[in-house]
């Protein structure tokens, strides 16, 4: 085959051996999404064939040589209603079918394991609840519902796993969620699909789906020693959040025990659910999220805690089911001599101590 040019030869080899035509179906939703996809391909083919048959057929039957004199026709209400109603019907079927999939993707089951994703130019930072940190890689167990809570710390990004048929925008300052359940062990592409600047095309990574046992091994081997909530607890103490949020009789801030997912009445009178997004806003922009009965004295932490820091704090607040440890840390900090100024001004930490989890 030496007479074929090397470039052409290489091309032919690639054509035969390395030619992707359809992505792997590696999640529960993928098969459902593809079913609709192929239904639409079928509808398109029928539609296209109809149009081509009509155009080609009429072109042959009524070409000038065969049919020299046109017969003028106004139109036909019956025909026109037919090609209004049939496409409309098909489109409505596609609409309902699509909506069913959409709701499944974006409303993950309540028992799903939650993993945080922070996008930044140009990498994905993954925060596992057990405290494992990853960059441009996501390790997950097979056959386990997973929810991703995604945020960006700079520009819009988009977290896309084609093999799972899922994608979610990473928006600066706003949590978005997406759910999936991987069904096949393997390594798959992870892409940023929203144009985000110079190295957009390098903001890629891999998703590793592992069997339950392998996943357990991986968890154990890549832990940082502290869970995300423990990270948050440290941050909570070092930022002296516990100075006010401690449920003592004269506490200046509301009690945070079991606050997650509860209904709060704000000083403006509106009621909100204290979800991830609300807690994030309340930390970064507290003066607009004051619980009824409290004075707006909390300083803003905007620009002083990284997105991962906020995530750790939120995860800590989620895990708070009693104030025992809050008050414990309060007592401990009160006993430590250099930390005597309890109500340290916003974000400033006592000299020499770097807050854990900040600015990573």
């Amino acid at each position: 085959m030496s007479h074929i040019s090397p470039v052409l030869w290489q091309f032919l080899v690639k054509w035969l051996t390395n030619f992707a035509i359809f992505p792997p179906e590696a999640s529960r939703i993928a098969a459902q999404s593809d079913a609709l996809f192929f239904f639409m391909v079928l509808v398109s083919l029928i539609g296209l064939t109809t149009v081509v048959l009509l155009v080609v057929g009429f072109s042959i039957l009524y070409r000038k040589e065969r049919h020299p004199h046109a017969v003028q026709i106004e139109g036909s209400t019956l025909l026109e209603s037919t090609w209004t109603i049939i496409p409309l019907g098909l489109f409505l079927i596609i609409f309902v079918w699509g909506a069913l999939i959409y709701f499944r993707v974006y409303t993950p089951p309540a028992n799903a394991m939650n993993i945080y994703v922070v996008g930044k130019q140009w990498m994905w930072k993954i925060e596992h609840p057990g405290g494992q940190h990853e960059i441009n890689a996501l390790h997950i167990p097979v056959n386990e519902p997973v929810q991703l809570t995604i945020i960006s710390q700079d520009v819009f990004h988009s977290f896309s796993i084609p093999a799972f048929r899922i994608k979610r925008e990473a928006i600066p300052g706003r949590y978005t969620t997406v759910g999936f359940e991987a069904t096949q062990v393997g390594t798959y592409h992870l892409f940023c699909t929203q144009y985000c600047g110079t190295d957009h095309s390098h903001m890629t990574g891999e998703v590793v789906v592992m069997s339950r046992d392998d996943y357990k091994k991986w968890l154990a081997s890549s832990t940082s020693g502290m869970s995300l909530a423990q990270d948050g607890e440290r941050l909570f103490a070092s930022l002296s959040c516990n100075a006010c949020h401690n449920d003592t009789p004269n506490a200046r801030g509301p009690n945070l025990v079991n606050v997650y997912d509860s209904r709060l009445t704000l000083s403006t009178g509106e009621t909100v659910t204290a979800d991830d997004a609300y807690l994030r806003q309340a930390i970064l922009n507290p003066s607009e999220h004051v619980t009824q009965g409290y004075v707006p004295i909390m300083p803003t932490y905007q620009g002083q805690i990284s997105e991962e820091g906020v995530i750790a704090l939120v995860e800590y607040i989620k895990s708070l089911h009693s104030n025992y440890r809050v008050q414990q840390t309060l007592n401990t900090t009160a006993l430590v001599p250099q930390n005597q100024e309890k109500a340290t001004p916003a974000g400033q930490t006592p000299s020499g101590q770097k807050p854990q989890g900040v600015g990573r």
Partner: protein, 553 residues
């Protein structure tokens, strides 16, 4: 395919009429200060062709870069600039003005039986704004370029890029006013300048589709202008409208931008629909099947087109229920386009069909637009949009509609009206060849991109995983063929200006008012204001008219 409706005058005696809009005055100034809609249309035609080839060269660079998986032809930054400039130039400096500012500008006054557009000076102003904007865009391109993508997504464009974002935004802002003025001019002309007897339902469908597109231009473009001003202010003065760090809403930009940019795709495609209606009717010798349905479907597209913008944001964390509503509305807006396709197909039924170049392009349009429209449904359906959006599937869909649809329609229209605009015919055989080359090149370029999108290849990637290479090689090979297909018309159309056959008044035996006068037309279009006494596309009227002429000779 020997049969033709082409009826040229005897070439040995035929002459281009001495008095016409081209010969009336000479010299550069007579062009630059003209108020004649026909001359302004020619100015536009030259300028948009210029920008088309700049945008096209950039597209060529994109395809060359994507020949290999690594970003080896240019650095990632350069690639980002190249695709951004390609998008900006093609969308705002070619597609938006393409048919309306050239063919529309030239023929809407003639089709409604008027001497000129209602506001000739505004028309000239709109060309100057276009040139100003285009100059500014070229300046930003030569002094470092811009790499926001054509979508100016915040906060990337406002806080994270050091390129000429403000310059490019200003250029698009100015180009927007050019488009608003064109639209305004058409709306006023169609309302107020129709000749006696020209009722709304005697208007050619070309005019209806331009009317719908003009409404979109006038109502939609100001929103884009406001959005761009906010982007510039945010970038320069950090006013905090879009940036969450200053209390802004990151999604607000997306809403504002797509509120214009979705209707904008209808601004681009509706005039193309108009061309196809004229061409299909003329080359089938038959009234457009279901005139009213086609006319009202244009209006329906214009109305619904304003209420589907959030289908660009299904994955962006808008409420699930909002996504539901916008998906439903998107399905509704797909229906009028389907109606049009079937109406055109049935226009051929019992017609007397011939296949000159404009008709070949129109048939190409019907096939490609059907694919483009159907793949739009894939993206309008929320569930599959999650996987397909932001990938090459979107790129392919958009190019099927805009290049396969709009550009085919534009070329169809240019060939169709070329004899009227210049008085001379284009060479038929080579142009039929070019139409077929374009069709093949187009499919080879963009069809593989649907598969790439299904595989998940993200758009705007300078480098990509190696398993996507084969399809990208096909696409690049197709782009080469497509490039030839686009270069040919420029060459032979230029050639025909001097050597083309004399066309006579009505080479296509078409019914429109513009075909009943000399080619090229007089500056005032009609020797006397015509009186419309028949329906549009009344071929029997035309036959009687010709019989009368023969009798009187």
């Amino acid at each position: 395919m020997s049969a033709t409706i082409l009826a040229l005058p005897d070439q040995s005696t035929a002459r281009i009429p001495k008095m016409n809009y081209l010969s009336k005055e000479n010299g550069l100034l007579s062009w630059l200060l003209t108020g004649d809609h026909k001359r302004i249309a020619i100015l536009y035609l030259i300028s948009i062709t210029f920008f088309f080839f700049i945008g096209g060269s950039l597209a060529g660079l994109i395809r060359l870069e994507l020949l290999t998986p690594q970003s080896d032809l240019m650095a990632a930054d350069t690639y980002n600039k190249v695709f951004s400039m390609h998008g900006l130039i093609m969308v705002f400096f070619f597609l938006v003005p393409s048919v309306p500012a050239t063919i529309g500008n030239f023929f809407i006054p003639m089709m409604v039986g008027a001497k000129d557009l209602a506001l000739p000076k505004i028309n000239l102003l709109s060309w100057y704004l276009y040139i100003l904007a285009g100059g500014l865009m070229l300046y930003t391109m030569c002094t470092g370029g811009v790499d926001t993508g054509w979508t100016f997504t915040t906060p990337l464009s406002t806080h994270y890029l050091n390129t000429n974002v403000a310059g490019a935004a200003l250029a698009v802002f100015v180009a927007g006013f050019s488009s608003i003025f064109t639209g305004l001019n058409f709306v006023v002309t169609i309302h107020k300048m129709r000749c006696p007897g020209m009722t709304w339902f005697r208007l050619p469908l070309f005019v209806w589709s331009h009317y719908a597109a003009s409404i979109l231009m006038v109502l939609g473009t100001p929103v884009l202008a406001i959005t761009l001003v906010l982007v510039i202010l945010e970038r320069i003065a950090h006013i905090g409208v879009f940036d969450p760090a200053y209390g802004g809403d990151p999604l607000l930009f997306q809403h504002l931008f797509w509120f214009y940019s979705h209707p904008a795709v209808y601004i681009m495609i509706l005039p193309g629909f108009g061309v196809i209606s004229e061409v299909v009717s003329t080359f089938s010798r038959k009234r457009v099947f279901g005139y009213t349905a086609v006319a009202f479907s244009s209006v329906a597209i214009a109305v619904f087109g304003f209420f589907v913008w959030a289908h660009h944001m299904f994955i962006m964390g808008i409420s699930n229920y909002a996504a539901l509503v916008f998906s439903l509305l998107t399905m509704l807006v797909a229906v009028p386009s389907a109606i049009k396709i079937f109406n055109w197909a049935f226009t051929l039924y019992k017609g007397s069909v011939t296949f000159e170049t404009p008709m070949l392009y129109a048939i190409g349009f019907m096939g490609l637009f059907t694919i483009g429209g159907m793949t739009g449904v894939f993206l309008g359906s929320t569930g599959t949009d999650i996987h397909l959006t932001e990938t090459y599937f979107v790129v392919a869909h958009f190019h099927f509609v805009m290049v396969g649809g709009m550009l085919m329609a534009f070329l169809s229209g240019i060939h169709f009206w070329w004899p009227k605009m210049t008085g001379r015919m284009y060479p038929e055989k080579i142009s039929q060849f070019a139409a077929v080359v374009t069709y093949i090149g187009f499919n080879l370029t963009f069809f593989p991109q649907f598969i790439l999108g299904m595989l998940g290849m993200p758009r705007r990637y300078a480098s990509y995983p190696p398993e996507f290479q084969v399809l990208n090689v096909f696409s690049t090979a197709g782009a080469t063929v497509l490039g030839v297909g686009y270069l040919l018309p420029v060459l032979y159309l230029t050639w025909s200006l001097k050597y083309g056959q004399i066309a006579g008044n009505n080479p296509w035996q078409a019914t429109g008012l513009e075909w009943q006068v000399q080619s090229p037309p007089l500056s005032e279009n009609f020797p006397e204001i015509p009186i419309m006494d028949h329906e549009a596309y009344d071929y029997e009227w035309l036959d009687r008219q010709q019989a009368k002429e023969v009798a009187s000779v």
